[in-house]
């Protein structure tokens, strides 16, 4: 690879959709490992595809979130319920930090 080569990035939007297989591949996990993560609501299949697991689809946003869940679980030795809670609290913390930053700039 040459350093001069320029790679174009693509924005991941809410409307980009991936299948369960693609999600497994992106996170290097098997479907069996991903199912409990879905059961704990860490990520959710899109409402339109929820009826049958064969047709499950996910927003592409799920990939970074899944990866974060995997890192937290692995590095901190926490179970799925704990991971789900940690992620929710981190989301909340992020929103609050953004709000504080906005207020401080006023």
């Amino acid at each position: 690879m040459t350093k001069q080569e320029l790679f174009s990035a693509v924005i991941i939007t809410d409307d980009e959709v991936i299948s369960l297989a693609e999600l497994c591949r992106s996170c290097a996990l098997s479907a069996e490992q991903i199912l409990p993560i879905i059961e704990y609501g860490i990520i959710e299949p899109l409402p339109t595809s929820r009826n049958s697991i064969v047709h499950w689809q996910f927003s592409a946003d799920c990939v970074p979130r899944m990866q974060m869940a995997i890192r937290l679980q692995r590095d901190l030795d926490i179970n799925l319920a704990g991971t789900a809670l940690a992620l929710e609290l981190l989301d909340e913390l992020k929103t609050l930090r953004q709000r504080v930053a906005a207020l401080q700039r006023d």
Partner: protein, 321 residues
């Protein structure tokens, strides 16, 4: 090479029990985990803590390390392990912390070898040689300027990636990527670089690289999603009489018509002048009436004339005073 005091890194006494070491590690891992921590250098700390725990949690490695470390202090350089230092010790591989043990320091490697650090990794990935498995997707964070969200940007990123070498062991390879960041991003959004994640096994394709976008704070503008706002100082007479004022925006200067009788705090919208996403953000201007710090005698007398003229105006009427 610098000698590393693993006890100091974990903040425990040399006499600490295995349980104390475990507790100290868990606490620090939570404190410095890069996904959680807002500390600077969290990632470096996290790796250091993981490395220290890797050694101290394993009674065999700990004893060997203690033997070696008697005469060394942390940060002291020039460290070289004696050639036969680990004679009489047998390392059984043991469990490894889940962290990226492939990133351990030279100090660790000189003591326990690449093999030790690599064992963990290759057990996860190495057996897949001969198979074709598309590489895992990787993840990193990148900070951009607000202007980059308007115009797009190119960024040079340096990433540490682990690859299987010809010998079947993982090696760390820093790589530099020239990335074109598209315009229209908002804070917290993720972008993807196809084929720039972990390499695939066999002839399979590499995974993708995901980059989470953060904005560096801007001296003028505030950003909320795709909307951008600015506080615009104006003079009392501009506020009273109305004016056409030049306003900076990240996409260039624009003329803003301030209507007569505008008060401080009045918010005006420039439609579509926010971040250029498919649904364009808007640009908001909040007016702020500003007075000069010192007034000349002439100015003072003009204000006095104004005071006498506008005697009927009570801005505090609805406060009941």
């Amino acid at each position: 090479m610098e000698y590393k005091d693993y006890y100091q890194i974990l903040g425990v006494e040399k006499s600490a029990t295995q349980d104390e070491i475990k507790r100290a590690y868990r606490k620090l891992a939570r404190k410095y985990h890069p996904d959680i921590s807002s500390e600077t250098e969290a990632e470096a700390h996290f790796k250091e803590v993981g490395e220290a725990y890797e050694v101290l949690k394993d009674p065999e490695k700990r004893v060997a390390y203690d033997q070696l470390g008697k005469n060394w202090k942390t940060g002291q350089s020039g460290f070289q392990p004696p050639p036969d230092w680990n004679e009489g010790f047998e390392f059984h591989g043991g469990g490894f912390t889940g962290g990226d043990s492939a990133d351990f320091s030279d100090f660790f490697e000189s003591l326990f070898g690449q093999r030790a650090a690599g064992a963990h990794r290759s057990s996860r990935a190495g057996q897949q040689r001969g198979f074709q498995v598309r590489g895992q997707d990787s993840h990193a964070r990148v900070f951009i300027e607000l202007e980059d969200a308007y115009h797009g940007a190119t960024r040079v990123l340096t990433l540490q990636s682990t690859e299987l070498g010809a010998d079947g062991r993982p090696h760390i390879r820093p790589r530099t990527l020239n990335v074109k960041i598209p315009k229209g991003l908002k804070e917290g959004q993720t972008i993807r670089l196809q084929g720039q994640g972990s390499p695939g096994y066999g002839d399979a394709k590499a995974g993708d690289l995901y980059l989470e976008i953060g904005f560096n704070p801007h001296s003028l503008y505030k950003v909320n999603g795709h909307d951008v706002s600015l506080e615009l100082p104006i003079t009392p007479w501009e506020a009273a009489l109305g004016a056409t004022i030049q306003v900076p925006t990240p996409s260039g200067k624009v003329e803003l018509k301030v209507p007569p009788g505008s008060s401080s705090g009045k918010r005006m919208r420039l439609k579509g002048r926010g971040i250029p996403a498919p649904t364009r953000g808007d640009f908001y201007v909040t007016l702020e009436v500003v007075l000069a710090q010192k007034q000349s005698e002439k100015e003072k007398s003009l204000y006095q004339a104004l005071q006498q003229e506008a005697v009927h105006f009570n801005p505090r009427a609805n406060l009941g005073v």
